[in-house]
């Protein structure tokens, strides 16, 4: 078992090293390929659209205020502006992770498949957000110091590779979870809690795609010549995202516990629990396949 992990780990390290970037991979100006026809058939209820609109507007305002505060810091050392900027970037992280992406589906589904505590949820959410930011910071800094220029463009060239690897890893994880649940002999309530190492692997597969929001913040602070601030801000932003992703994970864990309690695993209860756990694994596989199809 441990030997197998030893093989998996280097694979992921190589993966981490070759990540020179998915961040702006979806950037339609540079590399997007989707010729998506407007989905005129699908129309969410007005309140959902209003909510999305509000989130969009909120991000627009935050973005404007962040840039003006950044300039203020640049022109005069203003501690109040710096503090405000950190607070704003944190809020931006929270809101930013509310949108699709950032690993909520995979991590939420993962906790459907197994027994876990709220603490596990918080750890996974935080590590995903952290890797998301570390990945963005390292990619941007490496490209900046090597290339000096053309960061946006060169990121495009690598984006596909990283996305394919990440999606592939998600599919594998889903299949593993599926097999694990099918072959499992111990009932869920006596199952051991997830180990930190397996949580780390999932976080790596999901978080490895650098956060585009963090990349933009970094590039902006570079153009203002406040790179130090930029790196700090990227991590503050990841704290905000950690909050959102962790809350999603914990919601799933708590809901599952609330539904199935901790009684004995028998009869209908057992069947229901089994179906939910299998569903979680299937969602991960399907989602990974979906991403893979989009990336290839």
């Amino acid at each position: 078992m441990d030997r197998r992990r030893l093989i998996i780990l280097p694979v992921f390290i190589v993966l981490l090293l070759c990540v020179a970037a998915a961040a702006l991979g979806d950037n339609p100006f540079m590399g997007g390929t989707a010729v998506e026809k407007s989905k005129r058939g699908l129309n969410y209820p007005l309140f959902v659209k209003r909510f999305m609109r509000k989130i969009g507007l909120l991000q627009r305002n935050l973005n404007e205020r962040m840039t003006s505060l950044g300039k203020e810091i640049k022109t005069k050392e203003n501690p109040r502006a710096a503090f405000m900027l950190f607070a704003l970037v944190f809020a931006y992280g929270v809101v930013h992770a509310l949108g699709p992406g950032h690993g909520k589906t995979v991590s939420g589904s993962y906790f459907l498949t197994r027994r876990a505590t709220v603490k596990n949820g918080i750890i996974l959410g935080s590590v995903i957000a952290l890797i998301h930011a570390v990945s963005a910071v390292s990619v941007v800094l490496v490209l900046y110091f090597i290339l000096k220029k053309g960061i946006g463009v060169s990121m495009e060239h690598y984006s596909r590779v990283v996305k394919i690897i990440s999606a592939g890893a998600i599919v594998l994880i889903g299949l593993f979870l599926f097999a694990r649940r099918i072959l499992k002999k111990v009932p869920s309530e006596r199952e051991s809690l997830p180990r930190d190492r397996s949580i780390l692997l999932i976080a790596l597969a999901v978080g490895i795609v650098p956060c585009p929001g963090a990349v933009l913040i970094l590039l902006f602070s570079m153009s203002m010549d406040i790179i130090g601030y930029g790196v700090l801000l990227a991590f503050v932003m990841s704290l905000g995202m950690a909050l959102t992703i962790s809350v999603t994970c914990c919601a799933v864990i708590t809901a599952k516990k609330g539904i199935f309690g901790s009684g004995e695993e028998r009869g209908v209860r057992r069947t229901a629990l089994f179906s939910v756990e299998i569903t979680g694994a299937v969602i991960v596989v399907l989602f990974g396949t979906f991403l893979l199809a989009g990336a290839v």
């Binding site: 339609p28 997007g32 989905k39 659209k49 969009g56 627009r60 840039t67 930013h96 919601a251 609330g258």
Partner: protein, 200 residues
């Protein structure tokens, strides 16, 4: 009962709300100039003013001599590397009128400039729309289907006209809830133009 309600909530958390893409990273304000001649509309000048973060990225990447303005060579480079791919995205521009619509295939006269600290793109969408005596209603939507960009009409002078002499034009901007994109979650604004001939 409580458990049952919780069970109903689960899919809500898990349903992937769209792809792992998008949700706006870039914000742009758009302006449209409607160009007319004696036959009717000949096309639209589209202008996009980007948020400062995206502007900083493009300026840093493409203003090669650091003079804070774009030379023709730099503009050509921007068009090639940070604009032309939008052909896959309909150039974010959708126009429809009675009997036709813009296919999103062709644009011309792309230019990029720096205004203050912000990046501005401008290009022409050729689109022939004949206006007869009964008048015509034309709708213009500008949005990014992938929602990488959040697009809104500029608050100041969102619409202007060229060669409009002889026409009476009414322009209204509203949110068009009938059209949705990004998996049905977002509706764009629409510029609704009622154009008629004054001389009759």
């Amino acid at each position: 009962m409580k458990r049952f309600l919780l069970l109903l909530l689960l899919p809500f958390f898990l349903l992937t709300r769209g792809e792992l893409k998008a949700h706006p990273h870039v914000f742009l304000d758009t302006r449209v100039t409607v160009v007319l001649d004696s036959e009717g509309v000949t096309g639209f000048w589209i202008e996009w003013e980007f948020d400062e973060m995206f502007s900083a990225m493009i300026i840093q990447d493409f203003d090669e001599d650091y003079d804070f303005s774009f030379s023709p060579a730099e503009i050509a480079n921007i068009e090639k590397n940070a604009f032309s791919n939008l052909k896959n995205f309909h150039y974010f521009t959708y126009v429809s009128w009675k009997g036709g619509e813009y296919t999103g295939k062709k644009i011309r006269d792309f230019s990029a400039s720096i205004r203050g600290d912000t990046l501005v793109y401008r290009f022409f969408v050729p689109c022939r729309i004949g206006i007869d005596d009964t008048g015509m209603v034309i709708k213009v939507w500008i949005y990014d289907d992938s929602y990488y960009c959040d697009v809104g009409f500029a608050e100041e002078e969102p619409a202007a006209f060229e060669g409009e002499k002889g026409y009476g034009i009414e322009a209204v901007i509203a949110r068009d809830e009938r059209i949705t994109y990004y998996f049905g979650q977002v509706s764009p604004q629409v510029l609704r133009l009622s154009v008629r001939r004054n001389d009759g």
